[in-house]
């Protein structure tokens, strides 16, 4: 059985209604990746990229589909790793980008990106939507570079992450409030995570609005916000906290300067961090991610 490979931009033509890629189509020109002129503005892009794994022989992971659609360009960079390389700037206002990820049962994949996503203004709002499903016994590590909300942009980021009961995931998001020295554009991210159809985490983050800007309750003086979600059966022992009964010893929470690792009500830990710059944000998230591992190993009494 051979894999289907589609990397690189491919010819620019209108996308057909059906984009099903049949496994086994190899050795020909990459089909059906294209740019569609949208009604929202001249040159606005609607793009949908697809990553799909399948179980290979001997418990290995096979990339069944790797469909790029500029500016969402995908490259395989390891046995179970894909990089979003991004061809062209953006998204620009009016662009609607979608990434569909389907991790088949028992397979594992890591998704990264080579550079930050700089969101620029345009004639209309831009959107980035990620739909990811992680099957039984599968694992996904998603850690792209930050999203930078350039001044004047209006961007909507939507992530829907659906996990099977025993799937494992690491999912990092970093949002930078504008390029150096500039005011942030407007951003609204929505993150919905379910485990076996039960809600694990739902979170909206709104950036660049007067209601939240500079509020000591929301971001304070931070210029960046980030979160890393780790979820899976390793955290499931703590799914039912002893609510209402004070633990015999004082709870030791994993927190530090500008970061905290929050054990969720369900099987997962959310690391949340605020920082003055992107480098410090990553450092704080990393500390929290290490704490999340200690929580999984039972070395921190979370409550």
């Amino acid at each position: 059985m051979s894999d289907t490979w589609q990397t690189g931009p491919g010819p620019r033509r209108k996308r057909p209604d059906h984009m099903t890629i049949v496994s086994g189509m190899t050795g020909t020109a990459p089909p059906t990746a294209g740019t569609v002129m949208s009604a929202t503005g001249a040159g606005a892009i609607t793009a949908r990229a697809v990553i799909r794994t399948a179980a290979g022989p001997g418990g290995t992971t096979r990339l069944e589909t790797l469909l790029s659609d500029p500016p969402l360009t995908l490259r395989r960079t390891g046995p179970a790793r894909v990089h979003l390389v991004g061809s062209g700037a953006g998204p620009l206002g009016g662009d609607h980008l979608t990434l569909d990820v389907d991790i088949a049962p028992g397979t594992a994949l890591e998704i990264r990106s080579v550079a930050a996503m700089l969101v620029l203004p345009g004639p209309a709002d831009s959107t980035m939507t990620v739909n990811a499903r992680v099957g039984a016994g599968a694992s996904l590590r998603y850690s792209p570079e930050p999203t930078v909300l350039a001044a004047g942009c209006t961007h909507r980021l939507t992530v829907r992450l659906s996990l099977a009961a025993d799937a494992e995931v690491f999912w990092r998001e970093e949002i930078i409030f504008g390029r150096h020295g500039e005011r942030p554009g407007r951003g609204h991210s929505r993150f919905d995570v379910t485990v076996a159809d039960r809600p694990l985490l739902r979170q909206d983050l709104v950036v660049g609005r007067p209601s939240v800007e500079g509020s000591p309750a929301v971001y304070g003086h931070a210029r960046c916000v980030g979160s890393s979600l780790v979820a899976g059966p390793r955290w499931s022992a703590r799914a039912v906290p002893a609510i209402g009964n004070d633990p015999p010893t004082a709870p030791v929470q994993a927190s530090g300067d500008g970061w905290t690792a929050l054990p969720l009500a369900g099987p997962g830990v959310l690391v949340s961090a605020l920082a003055p710059d992107a480098v410090e944000l990553r450092a704080r998230l990393t500390r929290g991610e290490e704490a999340a591992e200690r929580i999984a190993a039972g070395r921190i009494v979370a409550w």
Binding site: R202, D204, V218, S255
Partner: protein
């Protein structure tokens, strides 16, 4: 049958800080923010309250509105049927647990989940004595450790005769009134000036209650996943820090 006009007086009772449900013990992150020096006076407090309302306040308002809608629908079923079928009661329990799970998913901080359940437990104990009803009994049975406070507030609002928008308004009001009062006590601020801040937020309270109801779908749980989930990372950090501070005056 509930009178439409009954909602307004009931709303006043629900939003009154003298309702004996323990609300005065919570600063909503203000105490820790003062300890860390991020709130030093009236201007910082204004920004804190504005951001709190737009995040935790909106989420609480949406959950309260959804709970009010569900509570009213369940109470109507109980009014119509003398003997509530066991199956209906099971369904009702399941619905309350699902709404409570939506509140859990919107509260990443364990400290804040604990606070929400503690306050919910106190409120339902009080509410069941003031407004005895099968619906509140069902909620207490469905989530014995205490449902999240906004869920209990919405259910109580329903049994008191409030509309979902009024339940949302009570939740939004509580999300800023309690922290404002705490700041007066902790920083020795002029209480009149701080009430001026709350007065300035009044249009935003109405707007929040309106926004909270925008995504309701008529007591249909299918709409709950889409309810607002506005996070406030600083409030999460403050809540976790507060819990580790042995010298705290307020519970949260």
């Amino acid at each position: 049958m509930r009178e439409r006009s009954a909602g307004e007086a009931a709303l006043l009772l629900l939003a009154d800080s003298r309702l004996p449900a323990g609300g005065h013990a919570h600063s909503g992150g203000v105490e820790e923010a003062i300890r860390l020096g991020t709130i030093t006076g009236r201007d910082d407090l204004a920004g804190f309250l504005r951001g709190r309302l737009a995040t935790a306040g909106l989420v609480a308002a949406a959950l309260a509105a959804a709970a009010c809608e569900l509570g009213a629908a369940l109470a109507d079923v109980e009014d119509m049927e003398e003997d509530v079928e066991e199956e209906d009661a099971d369904d009702a329990c399941r619905l309350w647990r699902r709404l409570d799970a939506e509140a859990d998913a919107r509260t990443a901080s364990p400290a804040l989940r604990e606070t929400a359940r503690t306050q919910g437990r106190l409120l339902i104990r009080t509410a069941r004595r003031i407004w005895p009803s099968a619906m509140l009994d069902t909620l207490a049975r469905a989530v014995p450790d205490g449902a999240h406070h906004p869920v209990v507030l919405g259910a109580t609002a329903a049994v008191a005769g409030c509309e979902p928008r009024q339940a949302a308004l009570a939740a939004a009001h509580g999300s800023v009134a309690a922290p404002a009062t705490a700041a007066v006590r902790l920083l020795g601020l002029d209480p009149v000036a701080v009430h001026g801040l709350l007065a300035a937020l009044a249009p935003d309270l109405d707007g929040t209650a309106h926004a909270a109801c925008a995504s309701l779908g008529g007591a249909r749980s299918v709409e709950w996943p889409g309810l607002p989930a506005h996070a406030a990372p600083a409030l999460d950090l403050l809540a976790e820090g507060h819990r580790r501070n042995p010298l705290r005056l307020f519970v949260s």
